[in-house]
Structures are given as C-alpha cells and as structure tokens.
C-alpha cells in the first residue's frame, strides 16, 4: 500500500459519516455550566484544605508552646526563643579555617584592646587604673571540632567595676572554628540553675545568652555564678563575652553579684570591631 493509497483510503473511509448534530448554543451553555462547577469545586477544595491545615496546626502549636515551659524536675529553666522548625546551619559556609599565631596577631589584638575593649569596659563603669593586662592565647575550644587548627582565642582581664573586683573572659573564634551550633548551645551547656536563651537578630546572626547562678557556698551561702553572651555571626565566626566576680580566693571579702548585665555583654559581643583578624 503506497502513501497515496493510504491518503485516498482515509478520505473514502469517512464517506458514511453520520450527520453532525452539533448545537453550539446548548454546547456553550453546558461548557459555561461546567466551568462554573469546576470553579466552585476548586473553591470548596481550597477552603477544605485551609480548614484541615488550621485544624492540624493549632493543636501542634499549642503543644509546642506548652513544651517550652519550666522543667521543674531538674530545676533548669532552659528556654529558647529560636523556633524549633527554624534551622540555623552552622557553620554557615564552607570557608576553610585559618591558622593563627599570637605573634602575628599581636599588633592587631593590642590595637583592639586599646581602642575598643578597654574603652568599652570603662564605659561600663570600670576604674581605668584597675584594668589589668589582657593577654589572650590560642586554645582548642573544648568541644568536638578539630582542634589541630589554631583559631580560637581566649583571654581574661580583671578590673574593678561598680560592684567590685570583676573578671571578663573573651572568646574570639575564627570562621568555622566554633562549636556547638547556636541552636544546640543551650542543650549542651545547660545545668542546674542555668538560664539560656538563643535569639535571632534582625541581621540574621544569633545571640546565645546564658546565666549560671552557681552553687551556694556551703560556708557562707554565696553564689559563684557567671553570665555569658555568645554572638554567632553570619560569616561563621563567634565572639563570646563572659562576666563574673573576681573573688581571688578571698571568699569572705568578695561581692558575688555578676558585674555585667546581659545588655552590656551583648553590646560587647556584637561589636563587629571585636573579631579575629581575617
């Protein structure tokens, strides 16, 4: 059979075509009716989906909000303002870690101390003449991250503030150096008499604020607590500030109120000028 035969055959095959009973008016009316019905069905479907979603979500939210209460059994108030569904990838990028040496960074760190940290302490009421030496050193951060790279700097400085002798511990961690992740910090560090809050800032970074009231001294009833703020920055670096009173072994003479407030510590930790050199 040639192509022309097929062509002719197909033309002939429709010779007994039954008469076409196509009424455009009734067809258009039916089409319009079907379109309306389809729209109505879609509206009902969307409304049903919304109702189901609402019914499913409200109890879940209620349960979630109830779970954020105080864990009285363990005496721990471990509240977190970070929604559990919001993940904060940590570290936020794959930038390689960088080895630092104190000798190389010393001029930068000295400048940071003179121009930023020491003036900030003075603004918060520290007696300028009492501010001691800040000699930070590179140390492993104490968590599980690889400690073969030297990029976590710890430093402590003592001074006399409005509430008496005090100690400020600074932590400067390079990009990708710090663990735990901000949403795990509270869970890992929480202990009895600890308050811990993780908060996302408008710029996308996170601040973890923790206060440890400390055990009471059996002899005199003093609390030996501390307060810390860690700023998890968007570039993957971390700056931590921790404040405690400096009793210097003379417990009876000390004032054990924690010297710096959360706001003061947050101001220090979120100061972008305080960071490891890049």
């Amino acid at each position: 059979m040639s192509e022309q035969d097929l062509r002719d055959c197909m033309k002939q095959a429709v010779w007994d075509e039954p008469p076409l009973d196509f009424d455009p008016d009734s067809f258009m009316a039916r089409a319009e009716q079907l379109t309306k019905r389809r729209r109505a069905l879609m509206s009902v479907g969307v409304a049903t989906a919304l109702i189901i979603a609402t019914v499913a979500t409200v109890p879940a939210m209620w349960v979630a909000s109830r779970d954020k209460g105080v864990d009285t059994a363990h005496g721990v108030t471990a509240t977190s303002t970070v929604p559990t569904s919001v993940s904060f990838p940590w570290p936020p990028n794959d930038e390689p870690r960088k080895n630092h040496t104190y000798e190389q960074d010393q001029p930068y760190l000295e400048s940071m101390w003179i121009n930023i940290l020491s003036p900030a302490l003075q603004r918060q009421g520290a007696d300028p003449t009492s501010i001691g030496v800040w000699s930070p050193t590179y140390q492993p951060n104490g968590y599980e991250r690889d400690s073969s790279v030297s990029d976590v700097l710890f430093g402590t400085v003592s001074y006399v503030g409005p509430s008496g002798p005090a100690v400020l511990t600074t932590t400067l961690a390079g990009v990708g150096a710090w663990e735990p992740a901000p949403d795990k910090f509270c869970a890992i560090r929480k202990a009895a008499d600890t308050t811990c809050n993780a908060t996302r800032r408008p710029d996308g970074s996170m601040v973890v604020a923790m206060e440890f009231a400390g055990p009471k001294s059996a002899s005199n009833g003093y609390h030996l607590g501390y307060r810390s703020v860690h700023h998890y920055r968007r570039d993957g670096s971390v700056v931590g500030m921790e404040s405690r009173s400096n009793f210097s072994g003379d417990v009876a003479a000390g004032n054990f109120a924690i010297p710096l407030t959360f706001d003061q510590l947050t101001d220090l930790a979120t100061n972008e000028s305080i960071a490891l050199p890049r």
Partner: protein, 181 residues
C-alpha cells in the same frame, strides 16, 4: 467569557467540529467515540480559549487537545478493549456504483480492522500526515515531539499498517476459498 470571545469560539466550533470528529474517527475507528472525543476536546478548548486566541493557532491547538484526549481515553482501563459488537449489517443500495461501494467498504475495513492494529502514536502520525495533510513540522508540534520522531513513527506506522493490511487480505481470500469450497 466575554461576548467577543464567545462569538469567536462559537464560530470556531461550528466550522471545525466536523473535521475534528473525522480525525477522531480515524484515531479510534468508531463514530460514537469520535463524537465524544470531539465534544470533550471542544470543552477543553473552551476553557483555554482566552489563551489560545491570543496565540492565534486555535486549529493546531484543537488537534493537540484531540490527540491527548484520545490517548488519555485509551489509557483508561474501561477503554482498553477496542471491541465493538452489534454492528448493523450492510444493506445493498441498488442505485450505487458497485466499484465505488466496494472501494468505500474496503476503506472502512482498512480503518476499522487494519489501522486500528497500528500502535496509537504511529496511528496518530499516519492520520495527521495522510488525512489532515499536515507537514512533518506541524505534526511534530501537535504531537509534542521532534521532527525526527515523526519521520520514524511514520515509517514504522506504514510498516505496521502494511502488515495489518496483508493479514486482512489473506483473511479475506481464505474466507472466499472456504465459501467456494
């Protein structure tokens, strides 16, 4: 739908309904199914008319809808068996030219028994190319495939049709021999 669109669609439907039904008949080999396919396709076209009108190729779009509607229909389990029974016997028309009648009957046999054995997409290509007289490019647009695929499907479709026609002819001559003996 706006009045102007409605008028445009009405004109299109009136002028194209018959040709769409014929094409559908060649796809499925049954006038009743062809009527259903034509109605369903026009209904789908009605819902998309505002878009189709802007693109100014309503005819090609209608063919595409028809083809997809038919292929979808074929996939439905209750449509898989292409069997028809209860056909009315042919009645002799004393005024008709015997050669013409014989040719038409052969053509209908071809559609209902041989073309129906060709795989659906190859059958569609044959109908679009040899009944609708579309170019390879236009068939590719309707089928949503490349021109190379259209050519290969055409070649395979022709081979399959020739095999089916040979089987039909052999069957016919065997039956004639049986009747003669």
């Amino acid at each position: 739908m706006r009045k102007a669109d409605e008028q445009g669609f009405r004109e299109f439907a009136v002028t194209h309904a018959a040709s769409l039904r014929r094409t559908a008949y060649l796809f499925c080999g049954d006038w009743h199914t062809a009527e259903d396919l034509m109605q369903q396709s026009l209904m789908k076209l009605y819902q998309a008319w505002h878009r189709v009108q802007q693109q100014d190729h309503a005819g090609a779009y209608a063919r595409k809808i028809l083809l997809r509607t038919w292929l979808d229909e074929k996939r439905r389990p209750w449509r898989r068996a292409e069997q028809r029974d209860g056909e009315l016997p042919e009645t002799a028309d004393s005024n008709a030219d015997p050669d013409l009648v014989s040719g038409r009957l052969w053509a209908r046999e071809l559609i209902q028994k041989a073309l129906i054995k060709v795989p659906p997409r190859q059958r569609a290509v044959l109908v679009l190319r040899y009944f609708e007289d579309l170019s390879v490019t236009d068939v590719a647009a309707v089928m949503g495939c490349t021109e190379g695929t259209v050519k290969s499907q055409t070649a395979r479709g022709l081979v399959a049709l020739r095999v089916a026609v040979d089987a039909l002819e052999n069957n016919g001559s065997a039956m004639e021999t049986e009747v003669a003996s």
